[in-house]
């Protein structure tokens, strides 16, 4: 396992060392830059499938391409696995005194691990386990002159995108309003003045820090008129309007051409692909999918001379895994993989782009079980998936009927799906369908997650690494760290 330098103190040390030992640093850059141009990395596209465990990948492959097929991400040549554990509040870093791991991470501490290179407690964004602000890769990239982009199918103030462009003690401090309960972590650092960044709502930070040049996703409800004014005064082309709570559309996105674009397509999370597919005339069908947002972000960012750093999150894999809805989960996996396709095709043409595809954690203990079998569960009912207010999320995964040991627990029956290897006429939900899927729970698990990579430097992702190593790998690739 890698043991690179990490953390704020390490970064400061690196900066001082680079200044004091300039000739050594230049020699290193010369070796990477002028003698091996084929490995020169100009751009990094980092794609994150939230909640995407190894079985999510396998199940999506089998569903859409058959047992012998591959998702696009599985065609990337470098393959590894990543440990994802977090730490308890106040903990030291691994190897330091007072190190107390938490074996199951949330999206916030995972995002901080790869964005800032430190282990932290669940809920923390851009701060270490003791509550100290740590810079993010996207901030480093922005400061060095790279173009930056942050794309998600979640609210853009949610943990994964926010981990690159905000610093808060608690991920619930999202906005539009500050509240002590949601923002202060008094047990860690006492009560902070409301002017402290660590208790400033994420939306307020995103609207003002200019860390990401291109911001695409959901969460318009978190932003207000003052945020819109701040964005516009900082040169953003704001599609839609936070002031009037008017969402942007995919048509708006297609027409965007500015260097800095801010576009939110839903007041909350973006709508799941299954609903948009089944309701093409709906308002929600005007939201762009992840592949379209990735395509546009790359187009807008690749005009820069110095290169770009783009993070793309398929967030709804996790959210629909929490709901134990295999059908929706599979479609979100497919949508995420199509965004990977966009990134890979760009990288193949460009030749100087590193593409990294991974996850923050596994969600819900997704399993492929033997056809015709069932699992036991302790709860009396599985997670509800009937949303009276947001009917886009309501669905009933096609479940096998008959054969359950206890008919009263039929709600836990596996969800079954046909694959391309099944004979024509085999239906989803039938016992004849090949792919039988089930969930352990409605929560995250501590399983290691897969990583796939393509392009120069992709061999760094092979083998077993920790999620904090991703900070060093990407940082080194973009020459932002050592």
């Amino acid at each position: 396992m890698r043991t690179p330098a990490r953390g704020t103190a390490a970064l400061l040390t690196l900066a001082l060392a680079a200044g004091l030992a300039g000739s050594a640093g230049i020699a290193q850059a010369q070796d990477k830059g002028s003698h091996d141009d084929s490995r020169r990395i100009k751009n990094v596209i980092y794609l994150l499938g939230d909640g995407m465990g190894r079985t999510h990948v396998t199940a999506a492959r089998e569903r859409y391409y058959g047992a012998a097929g591959n998702l696009v991400m599985e065609t990337l040549p470098a393959v590894g696995q990543i440990s994802t554990y977090a730490v308890q509040q106040g903990s030291g870093q691994p190897g330091e005194a007072g190190f107390v791991p938490n074996l199951v991470t949330d999206s916030a501490s995972a995002a901080t691990a790869w964005s800032s290179g430190v282990k932290t407690y669940n809920a923390a964004l851009g701060v270490d386990a003791k509550g100290t602000v740590v810079p993010t890769l996207m901030e480093l990239a922005h400061q060095s002159g790279l173009r930056t982009g942050n794309v998600s199918t979640a609210e853009i103030t949610d943990a994964t995108p926010a981990g690159q462009m905000s610093h808060v003690l608690l991920r619930g401090c999202q906005g539009p309003s500050y509240s002590a309960a949601a923002c202060q972590n008094t047990s860690l650092v006492g009560t902070l003045p409301t002017s402290d960044v660590r208790v400033t709502p994420v939306a307020d930070q995103i609207a003002r820090n200019q860390t990401a040049d291109v911001i695409l996703g959901g969460g318009l409800s978190r932003f207000d008129a003052a945020d819109e004014t701040a964005l516009e005064s900082n040169g953003y082309d704001v599609l839609g309007s936070p002031a009037s709570q008017t969402v942007a559309t995919k048509t708006d996105l297609a027409g965007a051409s500015s260097d800095k674009v801010f576009a939110l397509f839903n007041k909350g999370n973006l709508t799941i692909e299954k609903f948009k597919r089944e309701n093409p005339a709906s308002v929600q069908a005007q939201e762009p999918d992840l592949a379209a947002m990735t395509t546009k972000a790359i187009q807008l960012l690749s005009s820069g001379k110095k290169g770009f750093y783009l993070q793309v999150e398929g967030a709804l894999i996790d959210k629909r895994s929490h709901a134990n809805d295999a059908g929706q989960t599979l479609e979100e996996m497919k949508a995420f993989d199509e965004a990977v396709r966009v990134a890979k095709e760009f990288a193949a043409k460009d030749g100087h782009t590193l593409v990294v595809v991974t996850a923050d954690h596994e969600c819900a203990g997704f399993n492929i079980i033997e056809k015709g079998t069932f699992t036991n569960a302790e709860a009396t009912t599985p997670p509800a998936n009937v949303d009276s207010g947001n009917t886009a999320n309501s669905s009933t995964p096609p479940r096998a009927t008959g054969g359950t040991k206890d008919p009263a627990r039929a709600a836990f029956a596996p969800a079954t799906f046909r694959t391309p290897d099944d004979a024509a006429g085999v239906l989803d939900g039938s016992a004849d369908a090949s792919l039988w899927l089930t969930y352990l729970s409605g929560n995250h698990t501590g399983a290691d997650v897969p990583v796939f990579a393509y392009g120069p430097g992709s061999d760094e992702l092979e083998g077993s690494i920790d999620n904090t190593d991703l900070f060093d790998i990407v940082g080194d690739a973009l020459r932002l760290t050592s």
């Binding site: 900066a15 680079a18 300039g22 640093g25 991920r171 309960a181 949601a182 959210k319 929490h322 020459r479």
Partner: protein, 161 residues
């Protein structure tokens, strides 16, 4: 040195180590145009409504499409109700319900709030799937309770995991 720097710097991200980013300055931690809040979130619109005596009104907020409210009651200066999140099935991280209390003339005489905060660092104990519904109880300030005849509620804070 200058030649090497030029060869490395052109079209290469952060490539001149002498100009390496100072990480201590990279984090954005201040926002000059942002006025720091001085208190807890209120709920706009509470002063503008005039609920009928004995009733509980609902004022609009930023998350109205994410929940439903039912079982709303006001009695003896106490508002109770149930909020059901309809947009997510993951853990409810933050929720704040703000209540306005009104006298017989329909004038707003005071506010109070109910807060839910999920401490992710605490042990949760044995729990099943996330519960989408929460019941709340909001009590008017003691000095006002006898004058309260109606109420209105709004939701300024709502975050799901």
């Amino acid at each position: 040195m200058a030649g090497v720097s030029a060869a490395c710097a052109e079209d290469a991200p952060g490539s001149d180590p002498l100009a390496v980013v100072d990480p201590s300055g990279a984090a954005v931690t201040s926002f000059p145009d942002l006025v720091a809040p001085t208190g807890e979130p209120g709920q706009e619109g509470l002063a503008a409504v005039r609920p009928e005596p004995g009733s509980v009104g609902v004022v609009p907020g930023p998350f109205d499409d994410r929940f439903t409210l039912d079982r709303l009651q006001v009695a003896r200066g106490v508002v109770t109700g149930r909020l059901t999140v309809t947009s997510d099935v993951s853990d409810l991280l933050e929720l704040e319900v703000v209540a306005g209390f009104y006298d017989a003339a329909g004038e707003l005489i005071g506010t109070s709030s109910w807060v839910h905060h999920l401490d992710e660092s605490a042990e949760h104990g044995h729990t099943g799937p996330p519960d989408e519904s929460v019941s709340f109880r909001i009590v008017a300030p003691p000095a006002l309770r006898e004058r309260v005849t109606s109420a209105a509620v709004g939701v300024p804070v709502l975050v799901n995991e």
